[in-house]
């Protein structure tokens, strides 16, 4: 179980085929929008980070639940390796500080 997230940024980027025509006009064939999530934690126990890293090595895509304008949504996401800044002990427990995860949806909506 991950600790409570400190900040979470949910956005989306357009997926489209963009072409400049002879006239200079830009036209697009829109495929849809791909949800992106950037989540940051103040700290995460080192063993959870290790478990997460192991999971990321095994699976390209993971199922993620996240807050969205329509309420809680979920989907399959590609997740980058976590970035961590400081390793330390908190009440005798090994933790990583300032952990961030960037996630990109597998499908477009």
């Amino acid at each position: 179980m991950m600790p409570r997230v400190k900040t979470i940024v949910v956005g989306a980027k357009e997926e489209s085929r963009r072409t400049v025509m002879v006239s200079g006009k830009i036209v697009k064939d829109v495929l849809g929008h791909r949800v992106t999530i950037a989540a940051a934690w103040d700290w995460i126990p080192a063993d959870i980070v290790a478990a997460l890293s192991s999971l990321l090595r095994q699976n390209s895509f993971l199922w993620v639940e996240y807050p969205s304008p329509e309420g809680f949504s979920s989907g399959s996401f590609e997740i980058d390796y976590p970035s961590m800044s400081v390793f330390c002990y908190k009440n005798g427990e090994a933790v990583w500080h300032d952990v961030t995860l960037d996630m990109t949806a597998q499908e477009v909506i």
Binding site: S16, R17, T19, K25, V27, D29, V30, L31
Partner: protein, 525 residues
């Protein structure tokens, strides 16, 4: 140009493109060769219609099952003579209050040859909404041994049963339960296979190429290439659980392209999309370490390549008679259309010995001074590729991603047409010429050979006239799927000449977006 719905907008600045491919992975001759039988059937039943390839019910026919026939104006009373009315097979037995049968009715099919299919599709009476909610399918081999069995829970009037079965001779479908109490089983059609759909969710890319030759120098076949998600390895040849064993050449694929504004994207249907034609499965191969698979399919012309025409002889006949005879000899059920004036043009009967059906059609078309191709409706269309027709579209600077490449073919002022009749005695060859050599011009000759030409001078003059139209365009554009080869479009160029040209080739590429490489044949120069 295809007729399109108002919401169809191929040139919207921001557009949504989509594809739909239906692949009928159905045993190509099982329906035609099937011998149906059943445990019982009611007087309205027409069991032979259960394998006549009609999948949908014409009418919501009234019958006297308890609580079924309502006086709401939607029901049609059956006539004494059911000729021309689709019913399919109806069981005599009616289910009870618990929806089950005392004696389960069964429908079966037998064949004199082994059949193989990737599954079965049961089309129940969609007009009445009656269907079986529980049934069992059993497949038997020649010796009556059970080779495959499946109990199916169903909740739809169209039930796809994923049940790959090889070399079966008999199929028995036993109906155990209906969706509502007091109902008959009504089967409109049983398909010996399944219809698989591909759309943007499971398609990596697709391309379609159409082409015709204005002078009938060749007879191109339209080609569909479809790159699919193969992450489950279903399309790998060596996968024993894959679909490869059930693929048969001639299984049809129908394709639709939709282009429109993004807002309308959710509601598109076949009716407001452009129908891109029917193709027949040719090959499938796994690609990219099996993550994708590529299906290739061609139109009917490709199937003519494998047929030989060996019925040539002396004499003449009309183009209509000749094309009818060639298609009949080749065993091709291919509709064709030609204006009366073209149909009555004379051509020779002396088609070369052992020429393919495809080559025979090409020679006949050229000898009749016309061009031909298979259009989106699967009709072999013969026509005069004249440029003097109204343009149906314009490929302007907003619609092309690069200026068109314009090629000017070398000037030809003389045509030699060799007509060799191998059926005449020792074989005679006559050479016809047409020329239009201007003062101080060097002679530039183009040579043609066509044994079935009757009016040699006329055909040579026609070829010379066609060769005078020397402009050829190649343009990369956004693509309007409703535009067809043989249509005339205005093509804008760097010099502002903006000439009309006949579309001779289109190569549509779909990868979530849509592009088209178009070639066109222009006027004189």
């Amino acid at each position: 140009m295809l007729a399109v719905a108002p919401e169809y907008n191929p040139y919207a600045d921001v557009r949504f493109c989509d594809i739909l491919v239906s692949f009928r992975m159905v045993d190509v001759d099982a329906a035609a060769l099937a011998l149906p039988f059943s445990t019982d059937e009611c007087p309205l039943s027409q069991i032979w219609q259960a394998h006549d390839l009609v999948e949908y019910q014409d009418l919501k026919l009234a019958s006297l099952e308890q609580g079924y026939f309502k006086l709401d104006g939607t029901f049609i009373l059956p006539k004494e003579d059911m000729k021309g009315i689709q019913t399919g097979w109806w069981s005599e037995g009616i289910s009870g209050e618990d929806k089950r049968f005392d004696t389960p009715p069964a429908l079966g099919f037998s064949w004199y040859e082994n059949q193989t299919s990737v599954g079965f599709t049961l089309c129940f009476d969609d007009a009445s909404g009656m269907y079986a909610s529980l049934f069992r399918i059993r497949a038997y081999d020649l010796d009556g041994n059970l080779i495959q069995e499946k109990l199916v829970d169903n909740n739809s009037v169209r039930c796809i049963v994923d049940m790959p079965t090889e070399n079966y001779r008999h199929v028995l479908i036993e109906f155990l339960e209906t969706s509502e109490p007091w109902r008959r089983i009504r089967i409109t059609e049983v398909l010996f296979g399944i219809v698989q759909y591909f759309n943007r969710a499971n398609t990596a890319s697709a391309s379609i190429e159409y082409e015709f030759s204005p002078m009938s120098e060749n007879l191109p076949s339209s080609e569909l290439s479809l790159v699919l998600d193969n992450s489950d390895s279903a399309w790998n040849m060596v996968n024993p659980r894959g679909v490869y064993a059930y693929l048969q050449q001639s299984q049809p694929l129908d394709v639709w392209f939709y282009v429109g504004a993004p807002g309308s994207s959710k509601s598109w249907s076949k009716e407001n999309a452009a129908y891109m034609g029917r193709y027949y499965f040719t090959t499938a191969a796994a690609e990219d370490d099996s993550m994708t698979a590529k299906i290739t399919a061609h139109d009917s012309i490709y199937r003519l390549e494998g047929k030989k025409y060996r019925n040539g002889g002396a004499g003449q006949w009309t183009l209509l008679q000749a094309v009818t005879a060639v298609l009949e000899y080749c065993g091709m059920e291919l509709d064709f259309e030609m204006p009366d004036e073209i149909a009555s043009r004379l051509v020779g009967r002396n088609l070369p010995k052992d020429c393919t059906g495809r080559e025979a059609i090409r020679l006949l078309s050229q000898a009749a001074c016309c061009a031909c191709y298979v259009n989106r409706n699967g009709v072999l269309r013969f026509f005069d590729p004249l440029i003097e027709r109204p343009s149906v579209d314009a490929i302007d600077y907003d619609r092309m991603s690069a200026m068109p490449k314009i090629e000017v073919a070398g000037k030809v002022n003389r045509v030699e047409l060799s007509v060799n009749d191998e059926y005449a005695g020792s074989g005679t060859e006559t050479v016809y010429t047409a020329s239009d050599i201007g003062t101080d011009e060097l002679e530039q000759t183009a040579a043609f050979s066509n044994p079935v030409v009757v009016s040699g001078e006329l055909v040579a003059s026609w070829l010379l006239e066609m060769l005078k139209r020397r402009l050829a365009y190649k343009v990369n554009e956004r693509g309007n799927p409703a535009m067809e080869i043989s249509d005339v479009a205005i093509i804008f160029d760097a010099y502002g000449e903006n000439r009309p040209a006949v579309i001779t080739k289109q190569h549509f590429n779909f990868d979530g977006g849509l592009k088209c490489e178009t070639e066109a044949w222009g006027g004189g120069f």
